[in-house]
């Protein structure tokens, strides 16, 4: 129990420290490697030919992290296009079983597109707000969303998805802590940019394959985007408005997850 909780924080922290000493762009790998560590501690190494969405998640996050690492902190149209492409491929891969089993029905294409855009937009927004804010803001925002999504997934009857979301939270908290203590500049933003799609993808897994209320999943997947409320005209970012809006939507999502939780409790045995 302790290893899956500690490993993402230790791995993400280690990668950030390494990135600071070697190359800043490596910070993009912190979240994905932390997630991979938790996945390995919980479920073993990811399968080489994954068929389940849970098994595919580490590969998707590693691909997104690779794009962020290669493209670095500088915004470029090629980098943005690559990121959008990987987010779309990730959304496609995660929802493949749902589409083949008609779980998405006629709205499947719409949901797939929304998921891809949501993953991309969360990544872009969290990457951009730190330009005008302190470097710990982006990972802490990600940690806030993950902190709400993890218990919601557990309420949706998947302890595994909840624990993996907890790994995102632990890795983000470690990044925020390090960025707050040390003189990190872009590392926090890069880490959050690469790990942000995990929130929307895990929320989608919870709604599609577990019993997470779809409205709750929607609110929690959208919550990182509400940090955009803190953006001001002079490209500065207000933590009060940003964290306020994100936290508010997280609370609404948690409440909906609680209300939508099927009875009786799955863990009462």
């Amino acid at each position: 129990m302790i290893l899956p909780a500690l490993s993402p924080a230790l791995v993400a922290g280690g990668v950030l420290l390494l990135a600071k000493r070697t190359r800043v762009a490596f910070a993009g790998l912190a979240g994905a490697l932390g997630y991979l560590a938790a996945h390995t501690a919980l479920l073993g190494l990811p399968e080489l030919e994954p068929v389940a969405a849970v098994e595919r998640m580490p590969y998707i996050l590693l691909a997104i992290a690779a794009v962020v690492t290669v493209c670095g902190a500088r915004a470029s149209s090629v980098g943005d296009a690559l990121l959008l492409l990987v987010c779309a491929a990730g959304a496609w891969w995660v929802t493949e079983s749902a589409r083949s089993n008609d779980l998405l029905g006629t709205a499947g294409g719409l949901l797939l597109g929304s998921l891809a855009l949501l993953s991309y937009a969360s990544s872009q927004l969290l990457g951009s707000i730190s330009k005008g804010a302190k470097s710990w803001a982006a990972p802490l925002l990600l940690a806030t969303s993950a902190l709400a999504l993890a218990p919601a997934l557990v309420m949706g009857r998947s302890a595994v998805l909840g624990q993996l979301c907890g790994a995102v939270c632990a890795a983000s908290c470690a990044a925020a802590f390090l960025c707050r203590r040390g003189d990190f500049e872009e590392e926090g933003a890069l880490m959050a940019r690469a790990a942000a799609p995990a929130i929307s993808l895990l929320a989608a897994c919870g709604a599609l394959y577990a019993y997470l209320d779809p409205w709750a999943a929607g609110c929690l997947a959208l919550s990182p985007l509400l940090a955009g409320f803190g953006l001001q005209r002079d490209e500065d970012w207000s933590p009060r408005y940003g964290f306020g809006a994100t936290s508010l939507l997280c609370l609404v999502g948690l409440w909906l997850a609680y209300k939508g939780m099927p009875a009786p409790s799955p863990y009462d045995y």
Binding site: L43, G44, E47, V51, A52, A53, V54, E55, S97, A98, N101, L103, G156, R157, S158, A159, V160, L161, C205, L208, Y209, A210, Y211, P262, A263, P264, S265, P266, Y267, D268, Y269
Partner: protein, 206 residues
């Protein structure tokens, strides 16, 4: 006259031989004289699939699947023609606790929304002794296929006007759930899952 006799003497054997020719081919058709396999379909009302898993090293918890289907091609004299296939509805799991059943259906265990059915297709059936058979085949659970082998016993067969022709089998075997990607909560909840299969099948009507 002599010419006619000669022609007839030549033609008659040709006619006789030509009439025999198809008969000479018949043994080839007759090679299929081994009776064809009888097709049986699983009678869900009188069949059971139970599973058993160790809980915390203390006890064995049992559960069952309430929806499944299966076909048996039965040719006891030519086991090469004998085959067994099953399809189990993963969401029909019943462990006598509604909340636990939902958890079992979720991504932690069966991920029934993602992988609604499990299947078994036999590849080989061998005789082991009187009414005992070794079955080898591919089991697909949670999208992963693994080869498994188990011993199957024919528990009986019979025919009556009311019920038609029936046949029964029973098998008990273990599978390792981690091989099928179900690794949550091991070893607290055991890796080895015992499967108890009791099947009654009806002769399929043409």
């Amino acid at each position: 006259m002599k010419q006619i006799t000669t022609i007839l003497s030549l033609a008659l054997p040709i006619l006789v031989l030509s009439s025999l020719a198809p008969a000479e081919l018949r043994p080839y058709e007759g090679a299929a004289s081994v009776p064809a396999a009888e097709a049986y379909t699983v009678d869900l009302t009188h069949s059971t699939i139970l599973f058993r898993v160790n809980h915390l090293g203390i006890s064995n918890a049992y559960g069952r699947f309430n929806k499944f289907s299966g076909d048996i091609q039965w040719a006891p004299d030519d086991l090469g023609q004998t085959s067994v296939s099953f399809e189990v509805d993963a969401s029909s799991v019943d462990s006598n606790h509604e909340g636990r059943d939902d958890h079992l259906r979720g991504p932690d265990f069966f991920s029934a929304k993602e992988f609604p059915t499990w299947s078994f297709e036999s590849k080989e059936v061998k005789a082991l002794g009187e009414d005992r058979y070794a079955v080898t085949g591919d089991m697909t659970m949670r999208g992963k296929t693994e080869e498994i082998s188990f011993e199957m016993e024919k528990t009986g067969e019979g025919e009556s006007e009311r019920f038609g022709k029936k046949i029964g089998f029973e098998a008990m075997f273990d599978i390792q759930r981690t091989k099928f990607g179900i690794s949550y909560a091991t070893p607290g909840i055991g890796d080895e899952v015992g499967v108890i299969l009791s099947i009654e099948a009806n002769l399929a009507k043409d």
